[in-house]
């Protein structure tokens, strides 16, 4: 059972793995109860992520003076990003370690980790470029824009890296129509898309002339991204639960 859940949590990346075929048959025999426990796990992990974001709002105020989301926005961005990354990694390490360690050596692990870091940085830079293309100032507020890119990468790239690893083909598969192969990938798709949509919607209030502190670049966008991410975390287990009858993962 333990092995099964682990595999179901983090499906292996290689399609021709013999281990996998065995699991598929087992999972299909287990049927709905299997799915329900999976969804429960998904819900718990997501609640943990939401909890980490809430903590990132409250904990720093014990240690730092004058901490508030709006005034010391950059600090909060760093802290929130660190918290979410930590929780994601933690979940990955707690649930995952055996699945790939069987075949991979330490050096393989390290290259994999380095690759992940490079991917993360690349995603930060590409988000930064996209923001500038969207009209963010090129020279002023570079740090703000970059930290915004970092937090958006934390919400989108980090879970992808944890779940799929530095494997572009798998990413493309997950983010194309009907390419999802498990509940986890499905929830990943939903949270990522909702983070993006949240960011996109977060840009809308900027031109309004209300002169509120949260309308300053990039606060509304980062808040939008955070709300989008949280909304995705909440919605995806519910959505999967509601559609559990219709959901069939073809390659699973």
């Amino acid at each position: 059972m333990g092995l099964q859940t682990k595999i179901a949590l983090f499906p292996p990346r290689r399609l021709n793995c013999p281990l996998r075929c065995r699991c598929v048959s087992q999972i299909s025999t287990h049927g709905n109860t299997m799915k329900d426990t999976d969804i429960k796990r998904l819900l718990y992990t997501h609640l943990l992520c939401i909890f980490s974001i809430i903590l990132s709002v409250f904990i720093p105020s014990f240690f730092l003076e004058n901490f508030s989301i709006l005034e010391t926005h950059l600090t909060w961005l760093c802290i929130c990003s660190a918290f979410v990354t930590a929780v994601n990694l933690l979940l990955y390490l707690v649930v995952k370690p055996t699945a790939s360690s069987k075949k991979s050596s330490l050096s393989h692990k390290i290259t994999r980790f380095l690759k992940c870091c490079i991917y993360f940085l690349m995603s930060c830079f590409s988000f930064h470029i996209i923001f500038v293309l969207y009209g963010a100032p090129l020279i002023e507020l570079v740090l703000e824009t970059f930290l915004f890119a970092v937090i958006l990468s934390t919400f989108t790239t980090v879970p992808c890296l944890c779940l799929l690893g530095p494997n572009l083909k798998a990413w493309l598969r997950v983010f194309s129509r009907n390419g999802v192969t498990s509940i986890w990938e499905n929830s990943l798709q939903i949270t990522t898309i909702s983070s993006f949509v949240g960011t996109w919607l977060g840009a809308l209030p900027i031109p309004l002339d209300w002169e509120r502190p949260w309308q300053v670049w990039p606060i509304s966008c980062t808040l939008g991204a955070t709300f989008g991410y949280v909304a995705g975390l909440v919605i995806s287990p519910l959505w999967i639960y509601w559609n559990r009858k219709q959901l069939t993962y073809k390659n699973n």
Binding site: I130, V132, L133, Y134, G135, L138, L172, R173, S176, R177, N178, G179, W200, A203, I206, P207, L208, D209
Partner: protein, 982 residues
């Protein structure tokens, strides 16, 4: 009757234009006016008195013998009262701070454009918004005004400056010299032409009023903004002019018994970018300084300038000159100017002004008796009478003084409240005309929406139920009811109504149209329901999932439409379009990557999302199933769209969205528009500053080269040569008027108007357009192959590009070049390989067209219209060509994208009905915002920003609709040629 969807859409847009015109006529209200004719002279109100009869029944005598008004265009309040004033206008600052002067900050009401401001200053009324549109050819001012009164009183008036005055007040000046305000690049000559008369006139002294209107400062603002070093120099020049006039007036004063008055004022301010027209604080606040020896100033008495209304000047001048106050004036005179007079005289002046205001209120507000200002006025008039009685009884005691002060305070209060309630009640909307216009527009929109399924089907034809209304009872009933309503409204309305003033025949025709449209909607609705019930039985189409692009297009359109309800989003509409276009590019890149990387391995249903058209409803799917399936199969059986491309082209496909995004980002930083971020430094200002002429020249030349390279590929050899010569002519024209330099020409050359060069280009524009038209006709008459038609369309397109290149300012030429570049990239690497359907391509063209409208530096503000485009190649202001050129210059972006759309669709051989589909979609996507905006504006008509933000946008929308109508007609014509051929 069967109609092609293109023709149908064109008809719909034409009706919509009519409806919008009626709406606009009703929306832009007639300003507050006194109904009494000016010819008929009323005796001035006698002094009120209780019982005893006063001997003061005539107008009080003038306070000043000579008045000089120095109006400096775009004089902002801080240019006089701020740090700039201290630095550059020492004499004026001295007068303001220490001398015998009263200084005020006069608040101008938007639109802050010269002609309405002059009207406001001289009539004291608030001109309607329509005055902005009529700004270009100012007709004579018919309303009662100070100048007219002064002339009637036999005063001799001399005017030098902006010739708008001469047009507004023809035959009022005994001597004048008008300077034209349209050559914005000239800021020294224009003022020297005013100042050169000064010495002579000041020495002569055979005049009573002297008006000087200096334009130089405004021109500097337009060229280089309020922080230009030129501003300081101009202000010092103005200061010396003031000093000259003031000393001359002081020396003259010894000869006459009465003191003289010198007025320094501005017509409007200057925004942070140097333009004007809107309602920011910098544009609205102007200084108003009254200088006269009559004003006593205790030493050490320094006070901040008080805020007053610009309209107050008319009443002040009238009282100062002993004239009746203009009838339409909503201003209250500036009380400090009579502070030195006796109590009785002060009260007399106050009484005159309040009587005039309350009369105006009585004529314009039905419930005037309940107005607090009017009540206050009645009370103070009674008190005033008592005071006069006491006064005439020779009771010069403390009691009299106290009572007098009380009356004075009450009068001032009454005047303030009256003035305020009059100016808030600028006018009533002509609701009836507005409703008629709205009903027409909304009906047309509903009809368009209902006919989507039919219009976007493969045949692109639809049944227009025209015969059924003629025989239906509903039609006649509707017509009767509407006629009855019309008669009732028109006979009962107290206020004037434009729609009632139309002839009965025209009104009846409009009513017929409305009821016919209603019947058409009803029959279309029943048809939809019938089809719908039929459809629900049949199984749903398996392919009905919309692609992300379709969703984006749908939500983008909806979001944009909804955003028009918020004033900030209207002000910053360019942000909406840039945002949408960027998202569109990202969605396209996602689509490209998906079909590039996953195109081969994925299952059929996720292989290639079938494009359903962004708004095709279920019946459309049903209709298209037949063709859709075959197309679908074709796609799958054939090779992946990318396999046809060669190696480097594949890379280009992958890079193209990013290339387009980069272009858009560059263009975005070229012209900052809108309101909030308009003051940010941008490339356009950097390029136009005189230090960077060389860079501008290089950029302009490069852009022209790119334009040539991109445009010539589709042209015949004759037009190629014409295009090259034309573009060369454009550069020569810009060099002639001094915008750019030739490499061999160093330093400043004499600047001409460049008439010859511009006309040289016009010849080529007309030549290319003629060749294009000839090709089109040939393809129609001789049934020649499609190629002739494509070439003809491309030639028309290149003619328009050449015209745009001539009209655009040189720093905007990159906009044109990038527009062509993006069109080329999109055509080659996105639309052709991805095989979008006509509806999607149309919407994309529309979005890019809108974005380019703002890339050009336009905004939803009247001030950003580049009127200099109307003077290219013209000696003087000729109305029709100037209007046409300005309109084309402003809407060049949307027009060029639309004509590219026509060419692109007719060059694609895929579908014969593509052009009809495109025409229909274009009409629909343009009419959705217009109709919604009309409803928004109607509901927001008492919004605070209705005049400054929503009205200009309404004018822009109306103009855009007109241009859309023209485009749709062109579309339909092209469609007809293809139909007749086949």
């Amino acid at each position: 009757m069967r109609l092609g969807s293109g023709t149908f859409a064109a008809c719909c847009v034409a009706i919509e234009v009519l409806g919008t015109a009626v709406f606009l006529r009703g929306f832009f209200p007639a300003p507050v006016r006194s109904s009494a004719r000016t010819e008929h002279k009323e005796p001035p109100a006698p002094e009120p008195s209780a019982g005893a009869s006063s001997n003061w029944t005539k107008l009080p005598p003038p306070l000043f013998s000579k008045v000089v008004i120095v109006l400096i265009d775009a004089l902002r309040d801080d240019f006089v009262f701020g740090a700039k004033g201290v630095k550059f206008m020492p004499y004026t600052t001295y007068l303001v701070e220490k001398g015998a002067a009263h200084s005020f900050v006069a608040e101008a009401k938007p639109p802050t454009v010269t002609m309405p401001r002059i009207k406001a200053l001289m009539t004291g009324s608030l001109p309607g918004f329509v005055d902005v549109v009529r700004n270009l050819n100012s007709p004579a001012l018919l309303e009662d005004n100070v100048i007219k009164q002064a002339k009637a009183a036999g005063k001799r008036i001399i005017f030098y400056g902006d010739e708008t005055w001469v047009k507004l007040f023809p035959k009022h000046f005994v001597e004048y010299d008008g300077t034209t305000s349209f050559f914005v690049s000239d800021y020294t000559e224009v003022d020297n032409n005013v100042t050169r008369h000064l010495d002579k006139v000041l020495k002569r002294g055979d005049w009573d009023i002297l008006i000087l209107h200096y334009l130089g400062l405004d021109h500097i603002g337009h060229i280089s903004g309020p922080y230009s070093p030129l501003i300081g120099r101009k202000l010092s020049e103005m200061d010396s002019v003031l000093m000259k006039i003031h000393t001359a007036l002081l020396s003259k004063e010894r000869e006459s018994s009465l003191p003289n008055l010198l007025v320094l004022c501005g017509d409007h301010g200057m925004s942070e970018t140097g333009s004007h027209g809107a309602s920011s604080t910098e544009e609205v606040n102007t200084p108003l300084v009254l200088i006269s020896t009559a004003f006593e100033r205790r030493p050490g008495d320094t006070r901040l300038p008080k805020h007053v209304q610009q309209t107050d000047l008319a009443a002040t001048l009238a009282i100062g000159l002993g004239l009746p106050i203009p009838k339409d004036s909503v201003g209250s005179f500036l009380f400090p100017i009579v502070e030195g007079k006796s109590m009785r005289e002060q009260l007399r002046f106050l009484h005159l002004n309040t009587v005039q205001l309350s009369k105006l209120l009585q004529e314009n507000v039905p419930s005037y008796a309940k107005d607090p200002g009017f009540e206050q006025f009645k009370m103070s008039e009674k008190l005033h009478g008592n005071w006069i009685k006491l006064y005439l009884e020779e009771n010069h005691s403390e009691v009299l003084f106290n009572l007098g002060t009380k009356v004075l305070r009450q009068y001032l209060d009454a005047m303030k409240i009256l003035s305020l309630s009059l100016s808030t009640q600028v006018a009533q909307y002509d609701l009836y005309s507005m409703v008629v216009g709205t009903v027409m527009v909304v009906e047309v929109l509903t009809l368009l929406l209902l006919s989507i399924p039919q219009a976007l089907c493969r045949k692109a034809q639809l049944e227009v139920p025209l015969s059924s209304p003629v025989f239906s009872l509903l039609f006649y009933l509707m017509f009767l009811v509407l006629s009855a309503v019309h008669v009732i409204v028109c006979t009962s309305a107290e206020s004037s109504c434009y729609f009632c003033s139309l002839s009965w025949l025209a009104a009846g025709a409009v009513m017929l149209l409305i009821s016919a449209l209603l019947c058409a909607i009803v029959s279309a609705l029943t048809k939809v329901f019938m089809d719908g019930s039929f459809l629900s039985k049949s199984p749903a189409h398996p392919d009905s999932r919309w692609s992300e692009l379709d969703l984006l297009i749908l939500f983008g359109t909806l979001g944009h439409v909804v955003s028009l309800g918020a004033s900030s989003f209207v002000e910053e509409e360019h942000q909406t379009w840039y945002f949408l276009v960027n998202t569109l590019c990202l969605a396209l890149s996602q689509e490209i990557y998906r079909s590039y990387f996953l195109g081969d391995s994925c299952e059929p249903q996720c292989h290639f999302p079938m494009d359903q058209g962004f708004d095709s409803l279920a019946p459309a799917l049903q209709d298209r199933t037949g063709g859709g399936v075959s197309e679908h199969d074709k796609v799958h059986e054939g090779p992946s769209p990318f396999e046809l491309l060669r190696g480097h082209e594949r890379w280009m496909v992958l890079a193209s969205p990013w290339l387009i995004l980069t272009c858009c980002r560059l263009l975005r930083s070229l012209n900052q528009t809108g309101v909030q971020w308009a003051h940010r430094p941008d490339l356009g200002h950097w390029l136009t500053s005189s230090d960077h002429k060389a860079e501008l020249s290089i950029l302009a030349a490069l852009s022209l080269l790119i334009i040539f390279v991109l445009v010539q590929r589709g042209c015949s050899s004759v037009s190629k040569a014409a295009l090259a010569l034309g573009l060369l002519g454009v550069y020569c024209y810009r060099a002639a008027i001094g915008n750019v330099l030739f490499p061999w020409q160093q330093g400043n050359r004499d600047i001409s108007k460049g008439i010859i060069e511009a006309r040289f280009v016009y010849v080529f524009v007309l030549g290319i357009l003629f060749t294009g038209t000839k090709d089109l006709l040939k393809s129609q008459v001789l049934a020649a192959d499609r190629k002739t038609k494509t070439v003809g369309l491309w030639e028309i397109y290149s003619g328009l590009v050449l015209l745009a290149a001539l009209l655009f300012r040189p720093h905007n030429l990159p906009v044109l070049a990038f527009s062509l570049l993006i069109q080329t990239i999109m055509t080659k690497f996105i639309w052709k390989p991805l095989k979008h359907d006509a509806a999607e391509i149309t919407v994309m063209h529309y979005w890019f067209g809108q974005a380019f409208f703002y890339f050009q530096g336009n905004s939803n503000n009247i001030a950003t219209v580049d009127i200099s485009a109307g003077f290219v190649g013209l000696d003087t202001y000729v109305e029709i060509p100037a209007m046409f050129l300005t309109a084309f210059g402003t809407y060049a972006g949307p027009v060029l994208w639309a004509s590219h759309l026509v060419h692109f669709l007719s060059s694609q051989t895929s579908s014969s009905s593509a052009l009809s589909h495109a025409c229909f979609c274009y009409a629909l996507i343009c009419s959705i915002p217009v109709s919604t905006y009309i409803i928004f504006v109607t509901s927001l008509r008492y919004h605070l920003f209705i005049w400054s933000v929503f009205s200009p946008k309404l004018l822009y929308e109306g103009m855009h609709l007109l241009i859309t109508a023209a485009i749709c007609v062109f579309f339909t014509a092209m469609d007809q040629t293809s139909l007749t051929k086949s």
